[in-house]
Protein backbone atom coordinates (compact mmCIF):
# COMPACT_ATOMS: atom_id res chain seq x y z
CA UNK A 1 0.00 0.00 0.00
CA UNK A 2 1.13 3.53 -0.78
CA UNK A 3 -0.13 5.28 2.31
CA UNK A 4 1.18 7.63 4.95
CA UNK A 5 1.68 6.00 8.37
CA UNK A 6 0.74 7.55 11.68
CA UNK A 7 4.22 9.04 12.09
CA UNK A 8 4.04 10.74 8.71
CA UNK A 9 6.23 8.33 6.78
CA UNK A 10 5.74 6.89 3.29
CA UNK A 11 8.05 3.90 3.59
CA UNK A 12 11.48 5.35 4.43
CA UNK A 13 10.53 8.92 3.58
CA UNK A 14 8.64 11.71 5.32
CA UNK A 15 8.50 12.50 9.03
CA UNK A 16 8.77 15.89 10.71
CA UNK A 17 12.39 17.00 11.16
CA UNK A 18 11.75 20.44 12.53
CA UNK A 19 13.26 22.77 15.09
CA UNK A 20 11.44 22.59 18.44
CA UNK A 21 10.25 26.18 17.87
CA UNK A 22 7.98 24.86 15.11
CA UNK A 23 6.80 21.80 17.01
CA UNK A 24 3.70 23.41 18.59
CA UNK A 25 2.48 24.76 15.22
CA UNK A 26 3.06 21.55 13.34
CA UNK A 27 1.61 19.48 16.17
CA UNK A 28 -1.51 21.68 16.23
CA UNK A 29 -1.96 21.02 12.52
CA UNK A 30 -1.28 17.31 12.83
CA UNK A 31 -3.78 16.90 15.63
CA UNK A 32 -6.53 18.79 13.83
CA UNK A 33 -6.23 18.51 10.08
CA UNK A 34 -7.96 15.18 9.60
CA UNK A 35 -10.93 16.00 11.80
CA UNK A 36 -11.39 19.44 10.23
CA UNK A 37 -11.05 18.09 6.68
CA UNK A 38 -13.56 15.34 7.41
CA UNK A 39 -16.18 17.65 8.92
CA UNK A 40 -19.28 18.18 6.78
CA UNK A 41 -19.29 21.99 7.01
CA UNK A 42 -15.63 22.16 5.95
CA UNK A 43 -16.29 19.81 3.02
CA UNK A 44 -19.37 21.79 1.96
CA UNK A 45 -17.47 25.07 1.94
CA UNK A 46 -14.37 23.56 0.27
CA UNK A 47 -16.39 21.82 -2.44
CA UNK A 48 -18.58 24.90 -2.95
CA UNK A 49 -15.57 27.15 -3.53
CA UNK A 50 -13.87 24.61 -5.82
CA UNK A 51 -17.03 24.56 -7.95
CA UNK A 52 -18.10 28.20 -8.01
CA UNK A 53 -14.84 30.04 -7.43
CA UNK A 54 -12.15 27.82 -8.95
CA UNK A 55 -14.37 26.50 -11.74
CA UNK A 56 -14.22 22.76 -10.99
CA UNK A 57 -14.59 20.18 -12.27
CA UNK A 58 -11.91 21.04 -14.82
CA UNK A 59 -12.45 19.35 -18.17
CA UNK A 60 -10.81 16.07 -19.11
CA UNK A 61 -10.19 16.90 -22.73
CA UNK A 62 -9.54 14.34 -25.45
CA UNK A 63 -6.70 15.88 -27.44
CA UNK A 64 -7.38 14.40 -30.88
CA UNK A 65 -4.56 15.99 -32.83
CA UNK A 66 -2.04 15.24 -30.09
CA UNK A 67 -3.40 11.68 -29.98
CA UNK A 68 -2.90 11.35 -33.71
CA UNK A 69 0.63 12.67 -33.47
CA UNK A 70 1.58 10.24 -30.67
CA UNK A 71 -0.58 7.28 -31.75
CA UNK A 72 -2.37 6.85 -28.45
CA UNK A 73 -5.53 8.14 -26.79
CA UNK A 74 -4.24 11.22 -25.04
CA UNK A 75 -6.41 13.13 -22.59
CA UNK A 76 -5.44 16.41 -20.97
CA UNK A 77 -6.64 17.16 -17.46
CA UNK A 78 -7.19 20.87 -17.78
CA UNK A 79 -5.92 22.24 -14.46
CA UNK A 80 -4.73 25.20 -16.52
CA UNK A 81 -8.35 26.32 -16.59
CA UNK A 82 -8.53 26.70 -12.81
CA UNK A 83 -8.97 30.24 -11.53
CA UNK A 84 -5.45 31.79 -11.23
CA UNK A 85 -4.16 29.54 -13.99
CA UNK A 86 -2.94 26.39 -12.26
CA UNK A 87 -3.82 23.59 -9.86
CA UNK A 88 -2.18 25.43 -6.96
CA UNK A 89 -5.47 27.04 -5.92
CA UNK A 90 -7.03 23.67 -4.96
CA UNK A 91 -4.60 23.53 -2.06
CA UNK A 92 -4.71 27.19 -1.04
CA UNK A 93 -8.52 27.13 -0.78
CA UNK A 94 -8.30 24.07 1.44
CA UNK A 95 -5.53 25.42 3.64
CA UNK A 96 -7.03 28.86 4.17
CA UNK A 97 -10.32 27.30 5.28
CA UNK A 98 -8.30 25.11 7.65
CA UNK A 99 -6.33 28.14 8.92
CA UNK A 100 -9.59 29.95 9.65
CA UNK A 101 -10.88 26.96 11.61
CA UNK A 102 -7.67 27.04 13.66
CA UNK A 103 -8.27 30.73 14.41
CA UNK A 104 -5.24 32.01 12.49
CA UNK A 105 -5.14 35.67 11.41
CA UNK A 106 -2.18 35.88 9.06
CA UNK A 107 -1.00 33.75 6.15
CA UNK A 108 2.55 33.25 4.94
CA UNK A 109 3.66 31.28 1.88
CA UNK A 110 6.69 30.56 -0.27
CA UNK A 111 6.61 30.61 -4.04
CA UNK A 112 8.84 29.64 -6.94
CA UNK A 113 7.21 30.51 -10.25
CA UNK A 114 4.74 32.68 -8.40
CA UNK A 115 1.75 30.44 -9.12
CA UNK A 116 1.41 29.29 -5.54
CA UNK A 117 2.03 32.85 -4.35
CA UNK A 118 -0.74 34.14 -6.59
CA UNK A 119 -3.07 31.34 -5.51
CA UNK A 120 -2.34 32.18 -1.86
CA UNK A 121 -2.74 35.95 -2.35
CA UNK A 122 -6.02 35.22 -4.14
CA UNK A 123 -7.59 33.21 -1.33
CA UNK A 124 -6.29 35.71 1.25
CA UNK A 125 -8.11 38.47 -0.64
CA UNK A 126 -11.17 36.24 -0.78
CA UNK A 127 -11.11 35.64 2.99
CA UNK A 128 -9.84 39.07 4.01
CA UNK A 129 -6.65 37.75 5.61
CA UNK A 130 -3.22 39.39 5.73
CA UNK A 131 -0.78 37.72 3.33
CA UNK A 132 3.01 37.68 3.05
CA UNK A 133 4.70 35.72 0.28
CA UNK A 134 8.42 34.86 0.30
CA UNK A 135 9.99 34.61 -3.14
CA UNK A 136 13.59 34.19 -4.27
CA UNK A 137 15.15 37.34 -5.64
CA UNK A 138 16.00 35.58 -8.91
CA UNK A 139 12.43 34.32 -9.32
CA UNK A 140 11.09 37.83 -8.64
CA UNK A 141 13.13 39.03 -11.59
CA UNK A 142 12.03 36.23 -13.96
CA UNK A 143 8.35 36.12 -12.94
CA UNK A 144 7.58 39.84 -12.83
CA UNK A 145 3.88 39.57 -13.86
CA UNK A 146 3.11 37.17 -11.00
CA UNK A 147 4.85 39.46 -8.52
CA UNK A 148 2.61 42.32 -9.63
CA UNK A 149 -0.47 40.08 -9.51
CA UNK A 150 0.26 39.25 -5.87
CA UNK A 151 0.65 42.95 -5.08
CA UNK A 152 -2.60 43.84 -6.84
CA UNK A 153 -4.27 41.18 -4.72
CA UNK A 154 -3.00 42.94 -1.61
CA UNK A 155 -0.14 40.63 -0.63
CA UNK A 156 3.31 41.70 0.54
CA UNK A 157 6.10 40.05 -1.46
CA UNK A 158 9.36 39.62 0.48
CA UNK A 159 12.51 38.74 -1.50
CA UNK A 160 14.58 35.80 -0.28
CA UNK A 161 18.19 36.89 -0.75
CA UNK A 162 20.04 33.92 0.77
CA UNK A 163 21.58 30.93 -1.02
CA UNK A 164 20.46 30.39 -4.60
CA UNK A 165 17.72 33.04 -4.21
CA UNK A 166 15.08 30.65 -5.60
CA UNK A 167 12.34 28.36 -4.26
CA UNK A 168 14.50 26.51 -1.71
CA UNK A 169 15.53 29.79 -0.10
CA UNK A 170 12.01 31.22 -0.22
CA UNK A 171 10.93 28.10 1.72
CA UNK A 172 13.70 28.67 4.30
CA UNK A 173 12.56 32.28 4.74
CA UNK A 174 8.92 31.27 5.13
CA UNK A 175 9.90 28.72 7.80
CA UNK A 176 11.88 31.39 9.65
CA UNK A 177 8.92 33.75 9.44
CA UNK A 178 6.74 31.04 10.95
CA UNK A 179 9.22 30.53 13.80
CA UNK A 180 8.99 34.28 14.47
CA UNK A 181 5.16 34.35 14.40
CA UNK A 182 4.10 31.02 15.79
CA UNK A 183 0.75 31.85 17.34
CA UNK A 184 -1.42 33.80 14.91
CA UNK A 185 0.10 32.69 11.59
CA UNK A 186 -0.54 29.75 9.29
CA UNK A 187 2.05 28.74 6.74
CA UNK A 188 0.45 27.59 3.48
CA UNK A 189 3.07 25.30 1.93
CA UNK A 190 2.46 25.03 -1.81
CA UNK A 191 3.71 21.54 -2.52
CA UNK A 192 3.75 18.05 -1.05
CA UNK A 193 6.91 18.89 0.88
CA UNK A 194 7.69 20.00 4.42
CA UNK A 195 7.13 18.29 7.75
CA UNK A 196 4.25 15.88 8.29
CA UNK A 197 1.30 16.52 7.96
CA UNK A 198 1.94 18.94 5.07
CA UNK A 199 2.80 16.42 2.33
CA UNK A 200 -0.31 14.35 3.02
CA UNK A 201 -2.57 17.33 3.64
CA UNK A 202 -1.58 19.06 0.40
CA UNK A 203 -1.90 15.77 -1.51
CA UNK A 204 -5.42 15.32 -0.18
CA UNK A 205 -6.46 18.82 -1.24
CA UNK A 206 -4.99 18.15 -4.68
CA UNK A 207 -6.50 14.66 -4.88
CA UNK A 208 -9.63 16.23 -6.35
CA UNK A 209 -7.69 16.01 -9.64
CA UNK A 210 -7.60 12.20 -9.77
CA UNK A 211 -11.03 11.98 -8.16
CA UNK A 212 -12.40 13.84 -11.19
CA UNK A 213 -10.25 11.96 -13.70
CA UNK A 214 -11.83 8.73 -12.48
CA UNK A 215 -15.46 9.62 -13.14
CA UNK A 216 -14.68 11.68 -16.21
CA UNK A 217 -12.75 8.82 -17.78
CA UNK A 218 -15.51 6.39 -16.82
CA UNK A 219 -17.94 8.56 -18.81
CA UNK A 220 -15.65 8.82 -21.81
CA UNK A 221 -13.92 5.45 -21.93
CA UNK A 222 -16.11 3.22 -19.80
CA UNK A 223 -13.30 2.61 -17.31
CA UNK A 224 -12.07 4.88 -14.58
CA UNK A 225 -8.49 3.65 -14.99
CA UNK A 226 -6.24 4.99 -17.74
CA UNK A 227 -3.19 2.99 -18.74
CA UNK A 228 -0.84 5.83 -17.87
CA UNK A 229 -0.99 9.09 -15.90
CA UNK A 230 1.78 11.61 -16.57
CA UNK A 231 2.56 14.67 -14.46
CA UNK A 232 5.54 16.94 -13.89
CA UNK A 233 7.30 16.91 -10.52
CA UNK A 234 9.13 19.77 -8.81
CA UNK A 235 7.99 19.30 -5.22
CA UNK A 236 5.20 17.29 -6.80
CA UNK A 237 1.80 18.64 -5.76
CA UNK A 238 0.08 18.34 -9.14
CA UNK A 239 1.54 14.86 -9.59
CA UNK A 240 0.40 13.81 -6.12
CA UNK A 241 -3.10 15.05 -6.96
CA UNK A 242 -3.17 13.28 -10.33
CA UNK A 243 -1.72 10.03 -8.90
CA UNK A 244 -3.51 10.00 -5.53
CA UNK A 245 -6.49 7.77 -6.30
CA UNK A 246 -4.30 5.53 -8.47
CA UNK A 247 -1.47 4.94 -5.96
CA UNK A 248 -2.81 1.50 -5.13
CA UNK A 249 -4.04 0.54 -8.60
CA UNK A 250 -0.81 -0.95 -9.97
CA UNK A 251 -2.24 -1.53 -13.46
CA UNK A 252 -2.22 2.27 -13.90
CA UNK A 253 1.31 3.41 -14.71
CA UNK A 254 2.38 6.61 -12.95
CA UNK A 255 4.95 8.66 -14.86
CA UNK A 256 6.70 11.60 -13.17
CA UNK A 257 8.55 14.10 -15.35
CA UNK A 258 11.40 15.88 -13.60
CA UNK A 259 13.33 18.84 -14.96
CA UNK A 260 16.73 17.88 -16.39
CA UNK A 261 17.61 21.53 -17.09
CA UNK A 262 20.56 21.65 -19.49
CA UNK A 263 20.98 17.87 -19.15
CA UNK A 264 21.12 15.44 -16.25
CA UNK A 265 24.95 15.43 -16.19
CA UNK A 266 25.40 19.09 -17.05
CA UNK A 267 25.59 20.37 -13.47
CA UNK A 268 22.59 22.57 -14.34
CA UNK A 269 19.69 20.29 -13.55
CA UNK A 270 16.81 19.69 -11.16
CA UNK A 271 16.44 15.95 -11.89
CA UNK A 272 16.20 14.94 -8.25
CA UNK A 273 15.72 11.18 -8.49
CA UNK A 274 18.46 10.89 -11.13
CA UNK A 275 20.98 12.92 -9.15
CA UNK A 276 19.81 12.86 -5.58
CA UNK A 277 20.38 10.71 -2.51
CA UNK A 278 18.33 10.26 0.67
CA UNK A 279 18.57 13.10 3.14
CA UNK A 280 16.56 15.73 4.94
CA UNK A 281 15.21 18.89 3.36
CA UNK A 282 12.59 21.33 4.65
CA UNK A 283 11.49 19.06 7.46
CA UNK A 284 11.15 15.69 5.77
CA UNK A 285 13.33 12.77 4.83
CA UNK A 286 13.30 12.53 1.05
CA UNK A 287 15.57 12.33 -1.97
CA UNK A 288 17.51 15.51 -2.58
CA UNK A 289 20.37 16.85 -4.62
CA UNK A 290 23.31 17.33 -2.26
CA UNK A 291 27.07 17.22 -2.02
CA UNK A 292 28.93 14.37 -0.35
CA UNK A 293 29.01 16.59 2.76
CA UNK A 294 25.24 16.92 2.87
CA UNK A 295 25.08 20.51 1.63
CA UNK A 296 22.06 21.12 -0.58
CA UNK A 297 22.96 21.66 -4.23
CA UNK A 298 21.46 24.58 -6.11
CA UNK A 299 19.24 23.25 -8.90
CA UNK A 300 18.52 24.60 -12.35
CA UNK A 301 15.48 24.47 -14.58
CA UNK A 302 14.06 26.84 -17.16
CA UNK A 303 10.79 26.43 -15.29
CA UNK A 304 10.79 28.18 -11.92
CA UNK A 305 8.14 25.77 -10.60
CA UNK A 306 10.42 22.74 -11.04
CA UNK A 307 13.58 24.50 -9.86
CA UNK A 308 13.76 22.65 -6.54
CA UNK A 309 16.50 20.33 -5.21
CA UNK A 310 14.14 17.81 -3.58
CA UNK A 311 10.84 16.04 -4.15
CA UNK A 312 7.92 15.33 -1.87
CA UNK A 313 8.46 12.26 0.34
CA UNK A 314 5.57 10.40 -1.30
CA UNK A 315 7.35 10.69 -4.66
CA UNK A 316 10.64 9.55 -3.12
CA UNK A 317 8.70 6.50 -1.93
CA UNK A 318 7.05 5.90 -5.36
CA UNK A 319 10.55 6.03 -6.84
CA UNK A 320 12.07 3.83 -4.16
CA UNK A 321 9.53 1.02 -4.50
CA UNK A 322 9.34 1.29 -8.29
CA UNK A 323 5.69 2.38 -8.31
CA UNK A 324 6.53 5.54 -10.26
CA UNK A 325 8.46 5.81 -13.53
CA UNK A 326 10.67 8.87 -13.44
CA UNK A 327 11.92 10.60 -16.57
CA UNK A 328 14.14 13.68 -16.77
CA UNK A 329 13.15 16.24 -19.41
CA UNK A 330 15.61 18.86 -20.61
CA UNK A 331 14.77 22.55 -20.97
CA UNK A 332 14.94 22.40 -24.77
CA UNK A 333 12.63 19.40 -25.03
CA UNK A 334 10.08 20.91 -22.67
CA UNK A 335 10.06 24.12 -24.72
CA UNK A 336 9.56 22.14 -27.93
CA UNK A 337 6.69 20.19 -26.35
CA UNK A 338 5.05 23.43 -25.18
CA UNK A 339 5.24 24.89 -28.66
CA UNK A 340 3.98 21.63 -30.16
CA UNK A 341 0.89 21.59 -27.94
CA UNK A 342 0.19 25.23 -28.79
CA UNK A 343 0.23 24.45 -32.52
CA UNK A 344 -1.66 21.16 -32.32
CA UNK A 345 -4.35 21.94 -29.76
CA UNK A 346 -4.42 25.72 -29.35
CA UNK A 347 -3.29 25.44 -25.74
CA UNK A 348 -0.14 27.23 -24.54
CA UNK A 349 0.94 25.26 -21.47
CA UNK A 350 3.00 26.37 -18.50
CA UNK A 351 6.61 25.29 -19.03
CA UNK A 352 6.28 23.05 -15.96
CA UNK A 353 3.42 21.15 -17.64
CA UNK A 354 5.35 21.03 -20.91
CA UNK A 355 7.81 18.71 -19.17
CA UNK A 356 4.96 16.22 -18.65
CA UNK A 357 3.96 16.54 -22.32
CA UNK A 358 7.46 15.73 -23.51
CA UNK A 359 7.47 12.53 -21.45
CA UNK A 360 5.35 11.02 -24.27
CA UNK A 361 8.60 10.84 -26.22
CA UNK A 362 10.44 9.03 -23.44
CA UNK A 363 8.17 6.20 -22.40
CA UNK A 364 6.92 3.06 -24.14
CA UNK A 365 3.20 2.61 -24.71
CA UNK A 366 0.79 0.83 -27.04
CA UNK A 367 -1.38 2.53 -29.63
CA UNK A 368 -4.62 1.77 -27.83
CA UNK A 369 -3.31 3.03 -24.51
CA UNK A 370 -5.32 5.68 -22.72
CA UNK A 371 -2.91 8.31 -21.40
CA UNK A 372 -3.91 11.17 -19.10
CA UNK A 373 -1.50 14.08 -18.93
CA UNK A 374 -2.04 16.51 -16.09
CA UNK A 375 -1.86 19.94 -17.69
CA UNK A 376 -1.10 21.62 -14.40
CA UNK A 377 -0.93 25.24 -15.55
CA UNK A 378 -1.31 27.66 -18.41
CA UNK A 379 1.54 29.40 -20.17
CA UNK A 380 0.52 33.05 -19.74
CA UNK A 381 3.08 33.57 -16.98
CA UNK A 382 5.80 32.10 -19.23
CA UNK A 383 5.24 34.27 -22.30
CA UNK A 384 8.49 36.11 -21.77
CA UNK A 385 10.40 32.82 -21.61
CA UNK A 386 8.66 31.56 -24.77
CA UNK A 387 9.45 34.83 -26.57
CA UNK A 388 13.10 34.73 -25.55
CA UNK A 389 13.33 31.05 -26.54
CA UNK A 390 11.78 31.58 -29.97
CA UNK A 391 11.52 28.66 -32.38
CA UNK A 392 7.78 28.95 -32.95
Amino acid sequence: MIKVDEKGFYGKFGGAYIPEMLYPNVEELRENYEAIMASPDFQAEFRGLLKDYVGRPTPLYFASRLSERYEAKVYLKREDLCHTGAHKVNNTIGQILLARKLGKKRIIAETGAGQHGVATATVCALMGMECTVYMGEIDIARQRPNVERMKILGATVVPAVSGSKTLKDATNEAMRAWINNPVDTHYIIGSVVGPHPYPEMVARFQSVISEEIKWQLKEKEGSENPDIVIACVGGGSNAAGAFYHYYNTPEVRLVAAEAAGLGVSSGKSAATTALGTPGILHGSKTILMQTEDGQVVEPHSISAGLDYPGIGPVHAHLFDVGRGEFVAVEDKDAMAAGIELSKLEGIIPAIESAHALYALNMIEYGKDDVIVINLSGRGDKDLETYIKWGGY
Binding site: K7, G15, A16, Y17, I18, P19, E20, M21, Y23, P24, N25, S162, G163, K168, N172, M175, R176, I179, N180, N181, P182, V183, T277, G279, I280, L281, H282, G283, Q290, E292, D293, G294, Q295, V296
Partner: protein, 258 residues
Protein backbone atom coordinates in the same frame (compact mmCIF):
# COMPACT_ATOMS: atom_id res chain seq x y z
CA UNK B 1 33.18 12.52 33.78
CA UNK B 2 31.64 14.42 30.93
CA UNK B 3 32.90 18.02 31.01
CA UNK B 4 29.36 19.42 30.72
CA UNK B 5 28.22 17.50 33.78
CA UNK B 6 31.36 18.57 35.62
CA UNK B 7 30.72 22.23 34.71
CA UNK B 8 27.14 22.30 35.93
CA UNK B 9 27.99 20.31 39.05
CA UNK B 10 30.55 22.92 40.01
CA UNK B 11 29.03 26.12 38.62
CA UNK B 12 25.32 26.85 38.91
CA UNK B 13 25.18 30.52 38.01
CA UNK B 14 26.14 32.87 35.20
CA UNK B 15 27.36 30.09 32.92
CA UNK B 16 28.31 31.67 29.60
CA UNK B 17 28.27 29.64 26.40
CA UNK B 18 29.63 31.16 23.21
CA UNK B 19 28.51 29.99 19.75
CA UNK B 20 30.61 30.46 16.67
CA UNK B 21 30.64 28.91 13.21
CA UNK B 22 33.50 26.56 12.34
CA UNK B 23 35.76 27.94 9.61
CA UNK B 24 34.65 31.54 10.22
CA UNK B 25 35.72 34.23 9.61
CA UNK B 26 38.62 32.34 8.01
CA UNK B 27 38.99 28.64 7.40
CA UNK B 28 41.82 28.14 9.89
CA UNK B 29 40.26 30.24 12.68
CA UNK B 30 38.30 27.39 14.30
CA UNK B 31 40.76 26.38 17.02
CA UNK B 32 42.24 29.88 17.58
CA UNK B 33 38.69 31.19 18.20
CA UNK B 34 38.10 28.39 20.72
CA UNK B 35 41.30 29.27 22.58
CA UNK B 36 40.34 32.94 22.69
CA UNK B 37 36.84 32.09 24.00
CA UNK B 38 38.49 30.14 26.80
CA UNK B 39 41.02 32.89 27.54
CA UNK B 40 38.18 35.43 27.68
CA UNK B 41 36.53 33.54 30.50
CA UNK B 42 33.52 31.81 28.94
CA UNK B 43 32.40 28.42 30.26
CA UNK B 44 31.16 26.48 27.21
CA UNK B 45 32.12 26.53 23.53
CA UNK B 46 29.42 25.79 21.00
CA UNK B 47 30.79 25.07 17.52
CA UNK B 48 28.33 25.50 14.66
CA UNK B 49 28.84 23.08 11.77
CA UNK B 50 28.02 25.17 8.68
CA UNK B 51 25.05 24.15 6.55
CA UNK B 52 23.57 25.45 3.31
CA UNK B 53 20.04 25.69 4.72
CA UNK B 54 20.11 26.66 8.40
CA UNK B 55 16.37 27.28 8.89
CA UNK B 56 16.52 27.90 12.64
CA UNK B 57 19.10 30.66 12.30
CA UNK B 58 18.77 34.34 11.54
CA UNK B 59 20.64 36.41 8.94
CA UNK B 60 23.89 36.85 10.92
CA UNK B 61 24.47 33.13 11.46
CA UNK B 62 23.18 32.24 7.97
CA UNK B 63 25.78 34.60 6.62
CA UNK B 64 28.56 33.06 8.73
CA UNK B 65 27.49 29.59 7.55
CA UNK B 66 27.72 30.68 3.93
CA UNK B 67 31.13 32.32 4.43
CA UNK B 68 32.44 29.20 6.19
CA UNK B 69 31.19 26.94 3.37
CA UNK B 70 32.70 29.27 0.77
CA UNK B 71 35.95 29.10 2.77
CA UNK B 72 35.86 25.33 2.20
CA UNK B 73 34.61 24.18 5.60
CA UNK B 74 33.20 20.67 5.87
CA UNK B 75 32.51 18.09 8.55
CA UNK B 76 35.61 16.10 7.56
CA UNK B 77 37.81 19.16 7.73
CA UNK B 78 36.30 20.21 11.06
CA UNK B 79 37.29 16.90 12.64
CA UNK B 80 40.79 17.32 11.15
CA UNK B 81 41.05 20.78 12.68
CA UNK B 82 39.79 19.54 16.04
CA UNK B 83 42.43 16.81 16.29
CA UNK B 84 44.55 17.65 19.29
CA UNK B 85 42.58 20.70 20.44
CA UNK B 86 42.23 19.19 23.91
CA UNK B 87 45.92 19.94 24.47
CA UNK B 88 44.95 23.62 24.50
CA UNK B 89 41.25 23.83 25.39
CA UNK B 90 39.71 22.36 28.53
CA UNK B 91 36.23 23.91 28.32
CA UNK B 92 33.23 21.72 27.49
CA UNK B 93 32.60 21.70 23.74
CA UNK B 94 29.19 21.24 22.12
CA UNK B 95 28.73 20.71 18.39
CA UNK B 96 25.63 22.36 16.95
CA UNK B 97 24.75 21.01 13.53
CA UNK B 98 21.74 20.31 11.34
CA UNK B 99 20.81 16.71 10.82
CA UNK B 100 21.44 16.31 7.08
CA UNK B 101 25.23 16.85 7.04
CA UNK B 102 25.47 14.54 10.07
CA UNK B 103 23.55 11.65 8.51
CA UNK B 104 25.51 12.02 5.27
CA UNK B 105 28.72 11.68 7.34
CA UNK B 106 27.07 8.75 9.11
CA UNK B 107 25.65 9.16 12.60
CA UNK B 108 27.82 6.48 14.15
CA UNK B 109 30.99 7.71 12.46
CA UNK B 110 30.07 11.22 13.56
CA UNK B 111 29.57 10.23 17.20
CA UNK B 112 32.80 8.26 17.16
CA UNK B 113 34.76 11.22 15.76
CA UNK B 114 33.20 13.51 18.37
CA UNK B 115 34.43 11.22 21.12
CA UNK B 116 37.87 10.81 19.54
CA UNK B 117 38.57 14.54 19.30
CA UNK B 118 37.01 15.39 22.66
CA UNK B 119 33.56 16.82 21.97
CA UNK B 120 31.20 16.57 24.95
CA UNK B 121 27.73 17.20 23.63
CA UNK B 122 25.49 17.81 20.65
CA UNK B 123 22.72 20.17 19.65
CA UNK B 124 20.87 19.03 16.52
CA UNK B 125 18.04 21.55 16.16
CA UNK B 126 16.08 19.62 13.54
CA UNK B 127 16.35 16.22 15.20
CA UNK B 128 12.94 15.59 16.77
CA UNK B 129 12.85 14.03 20.23
CA UNK B 130 10.96 10.93 19.10
CA UNK B 131 13.45 10.20 16.33
CA UNK B 132 16.34 10.77 18.72
CA UNK B 133 14.92 8.28 21.21
CA UNK B 134 14.17 5.64 18.61
CA UNK B 135 17.23 5.88 16.40
CA UNK B 136 20.11 7.69 18.03
CA UNK B 137 19.97 7.86 21.82
CA UNK B 138 21.79 4.56 22.34
CA UNK B 139 24.57 5.77 20.04
CA UNK B 140 24.94 9.13 21.79
CA UNK B 141 25.14 7.30 25.11
CA UNK B 142 27.66 4.77 23.81
CA UNK B 143 30.06 7.55 22.82
CA UNK B 144 29.47 9.58 25.97
CA UNK B 145 27.83 12.54 24.20
CA UNK B 146 25.19 14.50 26.05
CA UNK B 147 22.23 15.76 24.07
CA UNK B 148 20.54 19.12 24.34
CA UNK B 149 17.03 20.00 23.28
CA UNK B 150 15.50 23.40 22.72
CA UNK B 151 12.31 24.74 24.24
CA UNK B 152 10.44 27.91 23.28
CA UNK B 153 7.71 30.02 24.94
CA UNK B 154 5.16 27.92 23.02
CA UNK B 155 6.45 24.58 24.29
CA UNK B 156 3.76 23.05 26.47
CA UNK B 157 4.47 22.10 30.06
CA UNK B 158 3.90 18.44 29.21
CA UNK B 159 6.45 18.65 26.41
CA UNK B 160 8.97 20.45 28.65
CA UNK B 161 8.74 17.58 31.16
CA UNK B 162 9.31 15.06 28.36
CA UNK B 163 12.29 17.05 27.12
CA UNK B 164 13.70 17.29 30.65
CA UNK B 165 13.33 13.53 31.00
CA UNK B 166 15.22 12.87 27.78
CA UNK B 167 17.94 15.50 28.04
CA UNK B 168 21.15 14.83 29.90
CA UNK B 169 23.18 17.95 29.13
CA UNK B 170 21.28 21.18 29.54
CA UNK B 171 18.04 22.66 28.22
CA UNK B 172 18.45 25.39 25.66
CA UNK B 173 15.72 27.95 26.20
CA UNK B 174 14.85 29.97 23.16
CA UNK B 175 14.11 33.30 24.74
CA UNK B 176 11.86 35.01 22.22
CA UNK B 177 9.48 33.90 19.48
CA UNK B 178 12.48 34.31 17.34
CA UNK B 179 15.17 32.91 15.21
CA UNK B 180 18.66 33.74 16.45
CA UNK B 181 19.62 37.36 16.55
CA UNK B 182 16.15 38.77 15.97
CA UNK B 183 15.59 40.78 19.14
CA UNK B 184 17.73 43.12 21.23
CA UNK B 185 15.97 43.37 24.62
CA UNK B 186 14.31 41.09 27.11
CA UNK B 187 10.56 41.75 27.30
CA UNK B 188 8.10 41.28 30.18
CA UNK B 189 6.57 38.30 28.29
CA UNK B 190 9.98 36.67 28.14
CA UNK B 191 10.52 37.27 31.85
CA UNK B 192 7.18 35.60 32.54
CA UNK B 193 8.28 32.61 30.45
CA UNK B 194 11.67 32.40 32.20
CA UNK B 195 9.96 32.51 35.60
CA UNK B 196 7.39 29.91 34.59
CA UNK B 197 10.08 27.44 33.51
CA UNK B 198 12.34 28.25 36.48
CA UNK B 199 9.45 27.39 38.81
CA UNK B 200 9.03 23.94 37.27
CA UNK B 201 12.05 22.53 39.08
CA UNK B 202 13.53 20.66 36.12
CA UNK B 203 16.40 18.26 36.71
CA UNK B 204 18.53 19.72 33.91
CA UNK B 205 20.33 23.05 34.03
CA UNK B 206 18.90 25.72 31.71
CA UNK B 207 20.72 28.15 29.45
CA UNK B 208 18.87 30.97 27.74
CA UNK B 209 19.81 31.55 24.14
CA UNK B 210 18.69 33.88 21.37
CA UNK B 211 18.79 37.63 21.92
CA UNK B 212 21.65 37.78 24.47
CA UNK B 213 24.34 40.26 23.45
CA UNK B 214 25.90 42.14 26.38
CA UNK B 215 26.46 42.35 30.15
CA UNK B 216 22.91 43.63 30.68
CA UNK B 217 21.04 40.91 28.79
CA UNK B 218 23.44 38.25 30.11
CA UNK B 219 22.76 39.44 33.66
CA UNK B 220 18.99 39.47 33.11
CA UNK B 221 18.97 35.98 31.62
CA UNK B 222 21.16 34.66 34.43
CA UNK B 223 18.62 35.78 37.04
CA UNK B 224 16.17 33.21 35.73
CA UNK B 225 18.47 30.37 34.67
CA UNK B 226 21.95 28.93 35.01
CA UNK B 227 23.28 31.24 32.32
CA UNK B 228 23.05 32.13 28.67
CA UNK B 229 24.28 31.48 25.16
CA UNK B 230 25.58 34.21 22.88
CA UNK B 231 25.65 33.53 19.13
CA UNK B 232 24.74 36.25 16.65
CA UNK B 233 26.25 39.07 18.71
CA UNK B 234 29.54 37.16 18.93
CA UNK B 235 29.57 36.43 15.19
CA UNK B 236 29.07 40.16 14.50
CA UNK B 237 32.00 41.01 16.78
CA UNK B 238 34.44 38.70 15.03
CA UNK B 239 33.28 39.09 11.42
CA UNK B 240 35.61 41.95 10.50
CA UNK B 241 38.01 41.65 13.40
CA UNK B 242 41.64 42.55 12.76
CA UNK B 243 42.75 41.11 16.11
CA UNK B 244 40.64 38.01 16.71
CA UNK B 245 42.03 36.87 20.05
CA UNK B 246 42.20 40.41 21.46
CA UNK B 247 38.69 41.32 20.35
CA UNK B 248 37.20 38.04 21.57
CA UNK B 249 38.83 38.35 25.00
CA UNK B 250 37.71 41.95 25.34
CA UNK B 251 34.13 41.17 24.28
CA UNK B 252 33.69 38.19 26.60
CA UNK B 253 35.14 40.07 29.51
CA UNK B 254 32.73 42.94 28.86
CA UNK B 255 29.83 40.46 29.02
CA UNK B 256 30.85 38.60 32.18
CA UNK B 257 31.96 41.58 34.27
CA UNK B 258 29.49 41.80 37.16
Amino acid sequence: MNRIHYLFNTKKERVLSIYFTAGFPNLEDTVPVMEAIQDGGADVIEIGVPYSDPVADGPTIQDSNKIALDNGMSMKLLFEQLKGFRAKVHLPVVLMGYLNPIIQFGMEAFCQKCKEVGVDGLIVPDLPMQQYLEDYKAMFDQFGLVNTFLISPQTSEKRIWEIDENTNGFIYMVSSHAITGAKADISPEQVAYFERVAAMGLKNPRLIGFGISDAKTFGQASQYSNGAIIGSAFIKKIKDSKDLSGDIREYIQSVIKP
